[in-house]
Each structure stands twice: as structure tokens, then as C-alpha cells.
Symmetry: C2
Subunit: 321 residues, 2 copies
Amino acid sequence: MTEVVVGIDVGGTNTKFGFVDKVGHCYREESILTNAQEPPELFASRVAEAIKGEFTSLRSTHSMIGIGIGAPNANYYRGTVESPPNLSWKGVVDVVGLFKKHIPLPVVITNDANAAALGEGMFGAARGMKDYIVITLGTGVGSGLVANGQLIYGSDGFAGELGHTIVDVNGRWCGCGRRGCLEQYASAGGICRTVFELLAVRREDSELRSISFDELTSIMITEAALRGDVIAREAFEVTGRILGLKLAEAVAHTSPEAIVLFGGLAHAGDLIFEPTHRYMEQYMLNIFRNKVKLVPSGLAEGNTAVLGAAALIWHELTRRG
Amino acid sequence: MTEVVVGIDVGGTNTKFGFVDKVGHCYREESILTNAQEPPELFASRVAEAIKGEFTSLRSTHSMIGIGIGAPNANYYRGTVESPPNLSWKGVVDVVGLFKKHIPLPVVITNDANAAALGEGMFGAARGMKDYIVITLGTGVGSGLVANGQLIYGSDGFAGELGHTIVDVNGRWCGCGRRGCLEQYASAGGICRTVFELLAVRREDSELRSISFDELTSIMITEAALRGDVIAREAFEVTGRILGLKLAEAVAHTSPEAIVLFGGLAHAGDLIFEPTHRYMEQYMLNIFRNKVKLVPSGLAEGNTAVLGAAALIWHELTRRG
């Protein structure tokens, strides 16, 4: 019997799950609708039924030993999700408790970025490392910090909010109510804002001048930059400078062996990696220079979040012995 | 027999040591000249002799079980000190090896801020906490970060350099060769620089207008502020704003239960704690607000560094079982 865990990734639209063994092989990844309007009890029961259904074909050869869940606003210590931005769940929801009711196995939950960090450490770009940071550059900017081989949850379970470190106290308004958060500069939406700032300030021609704020996406900026568009290229330079500065600060905190960039904006490859790395080195204290690797995710595209959630429970089961 | 460890604090002028038991009682603290010009071999041999000499009177009732050393530029992993700023030791010195030659016991070394952090956790203001940060506001700004009950050394042993996170990329020149490091704002010298900036910009009378840059000390600023001097009070406000912002950033990294402020500038009490705490709350992401304690050192004045070094080796001996 091969031992597998279930990795569950709760998204605003779809919830994905898969059965993952200890070396990161993912069996039967499935996706079901999250139904964001549905009460969490119903959601947990539907997902649990789907898991049980999918597992029937594996039952003769595999044993299911735990469940890991990645979800927005999840709290590892309490096993809860609190007022998630994309779901209509109210207040504090005991997600771990709900799942245990249906599947009596060890269940753990954490936010998506922390799950991604454990996934990179177990199956991806940070394999074998004890000190590293994973930054997700998607709709938002998330992060998971690992030190001494352990994820840093902090006193309340909410550590690793690098997306809400402040770039400029008088900067862009953030959804969190403050100004100048990194998330407003280094996310997919952030680089769009940077383009609009540049279009206002600079005089160069740009194909991006014909696109409205509502229409512009980070993929359009990447494509324009690859075609040599000056504004698009400069937007990556600006983004890399800001992200590089904040990564240098993160290095001063935990001195990681590597920083893994993950998610939408990281797909721009060298366009974002080159300036980010250059500025990170420039803004870094001399003792850290030329040591910290800046690398893309090492997890297979598509099921990264499921692998991350699976790594979370594998990590937990290993720790508990 | 009561078990004790030796805590050694290597300073530029004096080296202090003491015998410390597991509850932080310090027996026979002594101080000898460091003789910064002397080769490290001679230094280690002198200190070891002094330790043995002092221990004779304790020998019948106490057993010595390890040595902890706090020193500038110390590397925990390698047991070395590298080009310390205040000593003429050249290159990389194997301090742990030198001490073991004279006293065959477990020996560990780390920098002063990390030792202070472990001291606060074992004997001081962070007793019982698993996640906290200690910031030393002295000639420089040092820090030690503890997460999951362990000091964060990072991949190279140099984690926790919050004094060299950047406040302003175009800011004050720092001894490290870069610009705008926190150390140039929140140290004893930093607040003096802030006073000179304010004297240039503002028109208010101030007793500090009669003091030269070379003469001004942070203690003079504290005394002037206590007498109601507007510039001196504003200097603490500015320092608190900058330090508060950087502490909010540190919270976003590791979400500590408390931040302990330690060293020269922390002695200004409410003058520095009040604005620092106010701005830290203002610049902090909502989920962290009204949770993080900002507290002064809980270690007895005078032998804080010795207690820190002792905590380092106690921590190590406990971990090794």
C-alpha cells in the first residue's frame, strides 16, 4: 500500500484536490465548483464526498493518511478560515473541524502562500533547503518564510505578509486600507498601475497607450515588453527595483538560501527576474551579496497549490512522528 | 552541585564573563581588558585563565558545563569571528576552537544581538515566548529574531540584520557603504543626525543649537526632551516614526508576540517607546494591530550581555539534550 495524502486548494471559483504521495506524485487531480455563496458546512460535505468518490479506484493500492488544505485567510493554529475575500463565509469558520467530521484523519490548513512554500521545500525549487522564502506574485502578493526547516507562523499564525510591507507611506492605496503596500506594486495589478504612471510621466510611444485601465493585464505588458515596448520594459524595471528592495529587506530578516518567485508575474521570466535580482543585490547588505538564489517555482504548473497543500500535511505527519 | 555555564561578552575595550545558572542567577561577574591589539590566541588564553581562576572558589559547589560567547561579527555555524570592527583580529578567527583548547567543554558563539535575544527569552522580557524580536538600539542597531522557539540564524548564520534594512534609498550614508539604513536613524548616533537635520529645517529655539555635532550625544537629547525642548522632542517623534515603520515591517515577516527594545536609546523610556509604538500600530497590517507588545529589556542592567551569552549555551545544551 502506498501512503497518500489529500491536498486541497480552496479557490474563489474552483476547489481542486489530488492524492499525493511522499515524493510529490499526484494521483487523480480533480476540480469541483467552490460555490462561494454556499454555507461552509455544505461545501465541506461536498468536497469530502468527492474525495471519497475519487479515492474508491485507489483504495486497493493506496492508503489515505491525512488532509492538507490551502485556503485564503486560513489560520494554521486554529484550523480556521476568517472572512475570506472571495467566499461568502461569515466570521470564523472551523474548516479543519468540518472536514474531520466527514473524514476522520489528521487535517491541517494554512494560507495558499504558506502551502506553496512547503510545496517548494518538499517537491520543488527549495528541496533540501532549511532556510528559504517563497513569494507569490499573483492577484496579490503572498509569502511563506521557512527558517530552521520550519515554516514561520508567528505568534498568531499570520506571519509572512510581505505583500503588506510598505514601499512608500505616501504611495498607492491598498485594499488593506493603508498606503504603499508591496502588493500594489509587485502584483499583476501592480505592474498595470506602474504602466499607467509611466504613460502619464513619459513621452515615448507605446502600444499600451491604446488600452484602458480596465482592459490592461500583466500578460499584455509582458507581450509588449517582449516586442521591445519601452514603457512595458520600464514597467518591469520599476517593478524589479521595488521588489528587489523589499527582497533585500527580507534577506536582512531571515538570510535565506533562496527566494522562490511564484505565480502570474513570475511567468514573465527574465523580464522580472533580471531587474529584481540586480536591485536585490544592489540594496542588500554586503555580507549577503552573491549568496541568495532567486529562482522560479519548481512545482509542476497547474497543480502547484494541490502539491503545496499536500506538502503541508506531509510536513505535519513527519513532525508528529 | 549546581550546574553553571560561562557567559562571555567580548567588547572592544573590556571582556566580561560570569557564571550563570539555569534560572539566570549570575555568580562572580568579572571584567578584564580585551587588549584589542593582541592576537586572538593570546586573548583566548588570558580569558580562559581568568575563568579558571575565578571558578576555583565555586568548584566545590558548582560544575561548569559549557561556554557561551557573544561577540561582534560572530558566526554561530562556523564558531568564528570575521573582521570584527573594534578588534585588530585579521580575517576569520576560530574563536570556539581557541577556547576549547583551554577549556574542553561545549562552546558556542553568536553576535551580541542574537545573544541578547536568547537572554531575553530565557531570563528576561520574552520569557516563555516562542516568537519575538529583540532590537538593540546602541551605537549600532542590532537584532535577534526568534520564531518557533528558535533563533533564526539563516542559511549563513547572519540573519537578523534589521539595522541594515533600508529606510530611504537616497537617505543617510551608512558605514556599510549603502544609504538609508535604519541604523543611521534609530541608533544613538542616528537621533543626533536627526537633531541636526531638524536644527537646519525648523526655526524653534533649542538648547541643542549651542552644541556641536562632535559633542552631541543621545543622552543630551533625552535630557533636553525631558525639559520640553521642541527640537529634542521632535527628534524622538521622527525616530519613533521611522523605527515604528520598520518594526511594522518586521511584524509582517515573523508576527512576533513581542518586540523588546534594548540598549542606549531604549533608556529614553516613553520618549522613544510612545511614538515608536504609535507609528508601529499605524503602519501595521490590520490583522496584526493591538497584538504585538513593545517592551523594554527584562535583563538586569550591567550584565545583560553576559546573561545573553549564557542563555546561548544553555539553549544549546538543552537542544542537544
